[in-house]
Symmetry: C2
Subunit: 233 residues, 2 copies
DNA sequence: CTATGTCAACTAACATGTTAGTTGTGCGAT
DNA sequence: ATCGCACAACTAACATGTTAGTTGACATAG
């Protein structure tokens, strides 16, 4: 059984909030970036030594990660980084789809000219970033678009909810090999979503965002054959 | 400032799982049943004394309740039972609607004759229970119907997800005065949902479940004027 | 060589001691 | 009487000690 390499943990000073929060963020980052490999076991004492904290905040952080599905705690035995399972990815994808569809529906029903303008400006930015092949910034802009749509609902907890439910997806996404032309396709999907919102075409917007979210799921399925070492079931 | 009466906590032996889990269930029950009143502060030591456990499991339980929105933890200061806010209820209702709509959509798309039969049997049971005016059993049967629909998705975590997101709603629901004829209306809403699933009418099923979930929200709005002492904002 | 039982090492869970931040209270100054 | 400030009491957060359940290694019997 491999053991997660605690030396890969970033320093706590990179984060804010309570000690527990920072430990949580540090470990979560290590898991999502695959510095902590799926299936490896986490030794609390290693983490404590590396971060210079006691077991309390580490225990609390691991409990939270467990509820997010990123680690498996076996009572009285040990804690392991959860393996990526297609079943878990499909579940997370289902939840994410449910929330994104609801948000997009709301956006289509209640859109204001201001929101449409912001979405269109965001889309133009995306087009520019494709030409630059600036993937980092593209992802940031992509996220911003989804946030604009979510913000129309006025639900403060929605972004963090979507975030929590996307943990497995985010981790799996990192293992995918980039696909040529995928960025251009993504922008096209975004355009369809924004167009439907502008027309207040509720069903059109729902279908468009659903297609978009499912694109990712479809592409993730390929991991099952590509990286069977990291995927269970 | 009122203080939550720890003597109202049920005994831990009524629950199963780890000590933390049982403490969590006990406190959650007290909050949802309004034995712990919204706004009152929870004294860890009282809870420890009553349940004969140390502060660790109590702290963990309260952390979890905090993430469910049932208590507010003020760092270095205190923990209070969260007041019911219309904003929180609306958010929870939004999340619940998103999940239930997604589940119902899935049920309509992939329904089998067996599922339809089970749903129809459940509906007949509901009709009988109206005549008996057996509210307890009616609620159980109501819940069972939603579970049948959710089970068609095959998503293991869906019920617990909906449950977590319904905490605020469940608490508020208890304060509502029963409305004559409401049960019959509920059955009618259920019938529409089941009919649409049987016809594989996706949009019809979505609309029907949405109407159903929103009925509750609408009725909850009245609390804002009826019980302003328990509602904030 | 395999199956099984024992035991030591390890771990999460729980208990308890300690620290530091917040809040209200009362006293004194104005 | 009111404002401000110091202080005491209380709390969550954190550190650390203790308990009990799990696991795998190893020895031993078949």
């Amino acid at each position: 059984m491999t053991i997660a390499d605690a030396s890969k943990l970033p320093s706590l000073s990179d984060f804010s909030g309570s000690l527990s929060d920072r430990v949580h963020a540090a470990i979560k980052g290590a898991i999502l970036s695959l510095d902590f490999l799926p299936g490896s076991s986490i030794r609390k004492t290693d983490v404590c030594d590396r971060l210079n904290v006691s077991r309390s905040p580490v225990a609390e952080a691991l409990t939270k990660l467990s509820s997010e599905g990123l680690v498996d705690i076996v009572p009285q035995s040990g804690t392991r980084v959860s393996r990526i399972s297609m079943a878990a990815i499909r579940e997370d994808s289902f939840f994410r789809e449910a929330l994104e569809v609801a948000a997009t529906r709301h956006a289509a029903l209640h859109r204001t000219p201001d929101v449409v303008a912001r979405l269109k400006r965001n889309l133009e930015m995306q087009k520019l970033l494709i030409v630059d092949v600036d993937k980092e910034d593209f992802i940031r802009t992509d996220d911003a678009m989804h946030e604009i749509i979510m913000s129309t609902t006025g639900m403060a907890r929605l972004p963090s909810m979507v975030d929590a439910v996307s943990a497995q997806i985010d981790r799996a996404r990192l293992m995918m090999v980039p696909e040529p032309g995928r960025l251009a396709d993504t922008v096209d999907e975004h355009r369809k979503i924004i167009d439907a919102i502008e027309r207040q075409d509720v069903h059109g917007a729902e279908d468009a965002i659903r297609d978009h979210v499912r694109q990712l799921l479809t592409r993730l399925q390929s991991l099952e054959t590509d990286r069977p070492d990291l995927i269970t079931s």
